[in-house]
């Protein structure tokens, strides 16, 4: 395999994934097109109602969520991403050594500062 230089890199290993994506897209679009061509068009009241898994729709379509959900979601993302970084770190830990340990300690310290802050600001309390 030739070395990767600008202009000659073709990600050919990913070709099956690209084919899969094309088939998936064609399948979805094909189902819709075939359906639109052959289905019987007869509309009545129930059919034109918004689809809510078979239940009759209740209330406004725009529903306001409590802002607390967003805070919880944000905190989840932060600590989830932290975990994502920990996995590759653990894999190469023995190859990098002490430097990796110090580096990860610094990273976690920064997150702990944020954690204490969020805790004291009562971001984890629901009421």
């Amino acid at each position: 395999m030739s070395p990767i230089t600008p202009g000659n890199y073709l990600p050919s290993e990913y070709l099956p994934i690209m084919i899969l994506m094309i088939i998936a897209g064609a399948f979805g679009a094909g189902a819709l097109i075939v359906g639109a061509l052959f289905r019987i068009r007869r509309s009545y009241r129930e059919k034109l109602m918004p689809y809510e898994s078979g239940n009759p729709p209740i209330g406004e379509p725009r529903y306001r969520f409590s802002v607390k959900f967003y805070i919880i979601a944000m905190l989840f993302v932060v600590f989830d991403v932290e975990a994502v970084f920990l996995y590759p770190w653990a894999l190469v830990y023995d190859k990098i050594g002490l430097y990796a340990l110090i580096e990860m300690m610094l990273f976690i310290t920064v997150l702990v500062v944020g954690y204490i802050y969020a805790w004291k600001k009562e971001a984890f309390k629901w009421d």
Partner: protein, 463 residues
């Protein structure tokens, strides 16, 4: 494989600022009175200035992703001036605005750390990291008056347009990486010297130029600036109109003149000339019709970005120096003007300044100095800044561009001097109330002294 421990001396200023910001965040939880936090941030800024001016701090580190050279040191000092003056003017102002949150100081420090990273970035990834750190902190700062609907609007608009420009920057960076397989700015420059320009490269350069134009609020990417500057608390407006702008110029200078796109000067100069002319035109002409002084200063800051761009366009060492000096001078005179706006109890509208010279002669005289300096009238610093930048552009052969700039500069006199006319020639409607405090007084003293010192002895900032 054993990775050697990186030399931390070049990043010491950034480390100090970041650690201080984290400590402030924790302290804030325990403190009811937020005054000490301001003094702690001043202390941190002082220590950082000391770390910046250490000759031992020059050099590269983190595998050549981070560079500390005389260019970045100069910009970091501008950021420190910005930080210190902002803390001084906001101390009492936040109490008055009932927006005294401890996070304010911590966010100022984080934003400054981001700007410093931008100035020192030798790698596109570090550049982007610094840009996001700065941008995210300033979005929150713009909306720090949580119960004020205008402040909310400012934060929202700034966030939406700012993230849009970040996306453009990332797109440009990814194209550049695809073309050169490296994110190191100087290696990109070396590679592009061999290959010359191509269509994808021009597209990448345009995207990056657009993203940076957003940050410096250059037309036609300036739309966010007036609304954000008007809605944000005045101290934050002062901070935003200097810091992120200087950081934007720092990366433009680094990416376009010193590294990556160095060899493509012929390609980007026409783009920047167009942006600069449009910026000066929009900034100066729209400022004429403003009635709110913060909006007026927002358009004036757009216009000043246009003048400073001339230094980049000149493309010479001298132009770069003139641009840096200009930004330092701009920091003093602009924050000074905002400090006066903060000093007045009611000073957001231009008509609030009517007859100020009768009720508060000293305040009016100080505002006069800052307005003269922004116009560029000697013996103030603003004159030196403009003179330098125009001279550099003329020497580089852009006389026609300087003629345009001078014409727009003359137009700008109308709206700056209208404030002066309101203060000195209109009848007083009511006694103007002021809200002085020692720290605000100190900030005004520093800025007015620097405006005169630089104006009379330009050698302190040049060379």
């Amino acid at each position: 494989m054993n990775i050697p421990f990186p030399n931390l001396m070049p990043v010491a200023p950034e480390i100090i600022i970041t650690v201080a910001a984290s400590i402030l965040l924790i302290f804030d939880l325990a403190l009811r009175n937020k005054g000490p936090l301001a003094f702690l941030s001043l202390l941190a800024a002082g220590v950082t200035v000391y770390a910046i001016i250490q000759p031992a701090s020059l050099g590269e580190t983190f595998g050549g992703m981070f560079i500390s050279d005389s260019y970045s040191v100069y910009f970091k000092l501008i950021f420190m001036v910005n930080l210190i003056l902002t803390v001084l003017i906001s101390l009492k102002y936040l109490q008055r605005q009932k927006a005294e949150y401890g996070e304010y100081y911590s966010l100022l420090l984080f934003a400054t750390a981001g700007m410093m990273l931008m100035a020192s970035a030798k790698d596109l990834i570090v550049l982007y990291l610094g840009l996001e750190l700065m941008a995210l902190s300033t979005y929150i700062l713009a909306g720090i008056k949580r119960h004020d609907i205008k402040s909310n609007e400012a934060a929202m608009k700034y966030f939406l347009l700012g993230s849009f420009s970040s996306a453009l920057l990332l797109y440009g960076i990814s194209l550049l990486y695809g073309l050169t397989t490296t994110t190191d700015l100087y290696q990109i420059a070396a590679y592009l010297k061999q290959t010359g320009s191509s269509m994808p490269l021009l597209m990448s350069m345009t995207l990056i130029a657009v993203a940076f134009s957003f940050k410096i609020a250059a037309a036609p990417f300036h739309m966010w600036a007036p609304d954000v500057y008007e809605g944000a608390p005045t101290s934050v407006t002062a901070f935003m109109s200097v810091g992120p702008k200087a950081a934007g110029f720092a990366v433009i200078g680094r990416v376009f003149l010193m590294s990556a796109f160095q060899g493509m000067q012929a390609d980007w100069t026409p783009i920047l000339i167009g942006i600069a002319i449009l910026t000066m035109a929009v900034g100066n002409i729209v400022a004429l019709s403003q009635t709110n002084i913060k909006r007026m200063l927002a358009y004036s800051s757009i216009a000043h970005a246009g003048y400073a761009l001339l230094g980049i366009i000149a493309g010479t060492e001298e132009g770069l120096h003139a641009m840096m000096t200009y930004l330092l001078i701009y920091a003093f005179m602009n924050i000074g003007a905002f400090a006066i706006v903060i000093l007045l109890d009611k000073g957001d509208e231009i008509k609030d300044y009517e007859g100020l010279s009768k009720s508060r002669p000293l305040v009016a005289a100080l505002m006069l100095v800052f307005m003269f300096s922004l116009t560029g009238i000697p013996p103030t610093a603003g004159f030196i800044g403009k003179f330098n930048i125009f001279m550099a552009a003329i020497k580089a052969g852009y006389t026609w561009l300087v003629v345009i700039a001078v014409i727009f500069s003359a137009i700008s006199a109308y709206y700056y001097l209208r404030v002066v006319m309101n203060m000195y020639m209109k009848e007083m409607k009511q006694e103007a109330a002021i809200a002085p405090s020692p720290s605000l007084g100190l900030a005004i003293l520093i800025t007015v002294l620097m405006v005169f010192i630089i104006g009379i002895m330009p050698s302190v900032v040049i060379g």
